[in-house]
């Protein structure tokens, strides 16, 4: 019994979180400023596959299918993308403190996206711009410790701060130069994070990238465990460290960039969710990755629902993720007594 207890915990956690995700989805679809009852929500959803009399009218149907469903898909994709990319960065840099925000990937991607907006790029160009910005940021953040010949966790964190700072300044410049009547609002939207503008074409645009990179990361997730032992040990276990690390960083950066390209920066998710997953199922990434995906989706659906419902206006997501994430992270650190 004792031997398998972790496996049992993992299976239980997986099933529980999956059930929670299901109910959160239904709850999110039936909640909003426009009132649609829980029962009607389920009827409307089922009406697409079963013959049910339309008692709710076209408005409710429009709200569900055109407003709430794209955001729900967006929340699932983006929440899990940030979570799994955070888990990957934390493994590959052997450091539980890194995240897409901390490495400057998010702000780098925002710079890329903002530049693409300034030059009038379409969705694809914005996505590519976000990816290039993210890659440049991660390369910068990991090069600074190498230049200073110091591989401590602290220095990686500090160089992340340097890169984020630089990127936010560049965003500042871009905002200053942006056309206030048209582009500025779009860039501010990117900076604060929101799912308010997501519609189905966005979902179609990012889901292949998110699916492929997630599948690759999930496929190599046991090998990523070995990377956490250190380059030397991993290589002596027959792991092609340089290649594997490159694959993981590229995939994680593409995930962050794809998410950023349609939702803007959403802080805290990539940091907190993998921590929570490890707290539940231990550090083994074969378990952490699937749980992170589910938890990331749950967390962002809840946060986005709050953003829609709390006020007549839309609240920026980063405000809410920060309000929830910061105390939550403190609690996690206190529980885990993390060494630095």
């Amino acid at each position: 019994m004792d031997k398998d207890c972790k496996e049992v915990i993992y299976k239980k956690t997986f099933i529980t979180t999956a059930i929670v995700l299901f109910f959160v989805i239904i709850f999110a679809l039936s909640t909003g400023r426009y009132t649609i009852s829980f029962l009607d929500t389920i009827k409307i959803l089922l009406s697409r596959i079963a013959p049910i009399d339309n008692t709710w009218g076209p408005t409710a149907e429009g709200v569900i299918f055109n407003l709430r469903l794209p955001r729900l898909f967006g929340a699932i994709l983006i929440g899990s993308a940030f979570a799994i990319s955070g888990a990957s960065y934390q493994a590959v840099f052997k450091n539980p403190l890194v995240s897409p925000d901390l490495l400057g990937v998010s702000s780098g991607a925002t710079v890329g996206a903002a530049l693409a907006i300034i030059f009038g790029g379409d969705k694809l160009i914005i996505q590519i711009g976000a990816f290039l910005g993210g890659i440049i940021a991660v390369v910068l953040a990991t090069t600074i410790p190498k230049l200073l010949k110091n591989n401590s966790i602290m220095l990686l964190v500090l160089s992340g701060i340097i890169v984020s700072g630089l990127m936010s300044s560049i965003i500042g410049i871009i905002k200053f130069l942006a056309d206030p009547e048209d582009q500025l609002a779009a860039i501010v939207y990117w900076q604060m994070g929101s799912l308010a503008k997501i519609h189905m074409p966005d979902i179609y645009a990012i889901s292949p990238v998110i699916a492929i990179t997630s599948i690759i990361l999930i496929a190599v997730r046991w090998r990523i465990n070995i990377l956490t032992l250190g380059d030397r040990e991993a290589q002596l276990l027959g792991v092609n460290v340089t290649l594997l690390r490159a694959i993981v960083i590229i995939c994680a950066t593409m995930l962050t960039a794809s998410a950023v390209s349609i939702s803007g920066t959403i802080g805290w998710l990539g940091l907190v969710i993998p921590h929570l997953a490890r707290l539940l199922v231990g550090p083994d990434n074969t378990k952490v990755f699937p749980i992170s995906i589910i938890l990331g989706a749950i967390f962002l659906i809840i946060v986005d629902t709050l953003a829609r419902v709390l006020t007549p206006a839309e609240l920026p997501l980063t405000i809410l993720t920060g309000l929830i994430g910061a105390p939550f992270y403190f609690w996690l650190l206190a529980r885990q007594r993390v060494r630095l």
């Binding site: 909003g32 400023r33 009547e181």
Partner: protein, 358 residues
């Protein structure tokens, strides 16, 4: 030794800085010729040159307002970038082409001034919103006269008339200002008198949108007052602020019958009819289903904000909301008369179309 030289250097800089400062007022004293006193909206008594030759104007609509009162924009030496943007889309480009070369880079989007650049221009007067307290203090310290006006977005029509009066006395154009005010009063009177004729049930639910981000004219807005004065119900009146962002679901819940799209954004009724804005679904909104989405006209300025043409704005809204009640004037004729009377300009048909975004 080294320390002493650094101290000496610092003293030197200090000296230069001090003499630089003392140099300023003497230059002003030379300039001082004849002064008059203007009382601004904060009841400040401001001494300004009797004949104003150069004006920096930060409030966006007052670039066009000064033209409307003064008959020229030649005295403006620095304006807000958004005013410049509006100019290029409006009738003002035809009426006041001289604004083409007036710089707009010394005033930030948030109305803050680049004080040093303004000081370099040494204008006769700077016009600010009354809530720009920091800039008022800084300019006073530089001995540059400041005249303040009540902020447009959440003022009322009466405060706007006071603003017009202040500009009139500043420019010595009291007569023209009074005529504008009188026209304004007459139109308001007209609408107030007719308001009793409209039952609450007959009032349409109106949403006034500033931009694609769904900023709506909320409880404290000027536009709410205009909507109500012309017999409409502003759906966003319970929301705090002047222009406040609301969500799509909230709009669907309100289900407005009429939607106005401001000129602060380039969106058009077709964008709503064809559901072109990402993340929004207009298909089930009554105003869209009935094709009752209207782009606000732009005269010498965007009619969305309090400005010289606000009476025309009221007349336009009135006929959109209650064509049967406000049926005793012909809007286009009134616009032509207004332009003839106040700007001395006969509008061509093409220009009328431009005003109506046609």
């Amino acid at each position: 030794m080294k320390k002493i030289s650094i101290v000496a250097l610092l003293m030197g800089f200090l000296l230069i800085a001090l003499t630089g400062c003392t140099g300023q007022p003497s230059a002003d004293a030379e300039k001082a010729v004849a002064f008059k006193t203007v009382v601004d909206i904060m009841d400040r008594e401001v001494a300004v040159p009797k004949e104003i030759k150069s004006i920096v104007v930060s409030p966006i609509p007052y670039t066009s307002m000064i033209y409307a009162i003064d008959g020229t924009a030649e005295k403006l030496v620095a304006i807000h970038p958004s005013a410049k943007n509006a100019w290029s889309k409006s009738m003002l480009e035809t009426l006041a082409p001289e604004l083409a070369d007036v710089p707009d880079q010394y005033i930030a989007q948030n109305f803050a001034l680049n004080i040093e650049e303004i000081a370099k221009m040494n204008p006769d007067v700077v016009i600010l919103w009354s809530n720009q307290e920091d800039d008022i203090i800084k300019l006073e310290q530089m001995n540059i006269p400041v005249v303040t006006l009540t902020n447009g977005g959440n003022s009322d029509i009466n405060e706007m008339r006071n603003n017009i009066r202040i500009i009139g006395s500043l420019l010595g154009k009291e007569v023209q200002a009074e005529q504008l005010i009188q026209y304004n009063l007459n139109v308001e009177e007209y609408f107030r008198n007719k308001l009793d004729m409209i039952q609450d049930d007959d009032k349409p639910k109106v949403l006034y949108l500033r931009d694609k981000e769904l900023k709506a004219s909320a409880g404290d807005s000027f536009n709410r007052q205009m909507i109500e004065l012309t017999g409409g119900i502003n759906v966003a009146s319970d929301v705090k602020g002047a222009w406040t962002e609301v969500s799509m679901e909230q709009i669907i819940t309100w289900d407005p019958e009429i939607i106005y799209l401001s000129h602060f954004d380039n969106f058009m009724p077709e964008d709503l009819y064809n559901n072109k804005i990402p993340g929004q679904d207009w298909s089930q909104v009554t105003a869209v289903k009935n094709q009752r989405v209207y782009k606000t006209p732009i005269g010498i300025y965007r009619w969305d904000a309090p400005n010289a043409e606000t009476p025309l704005f009221l007349k336009w809204m009135g006929q959109v909301q209650h064509p049967n009640i406000y049926n005793d004037y012909v809007l286009e004729d009134d616009i032509r008369d207004f332009y003839k009377k106040f700007f001395g300009h006969s509008l061509s048909n093409q220009e009328i179309n431009q005003i109506f975004n046609r």
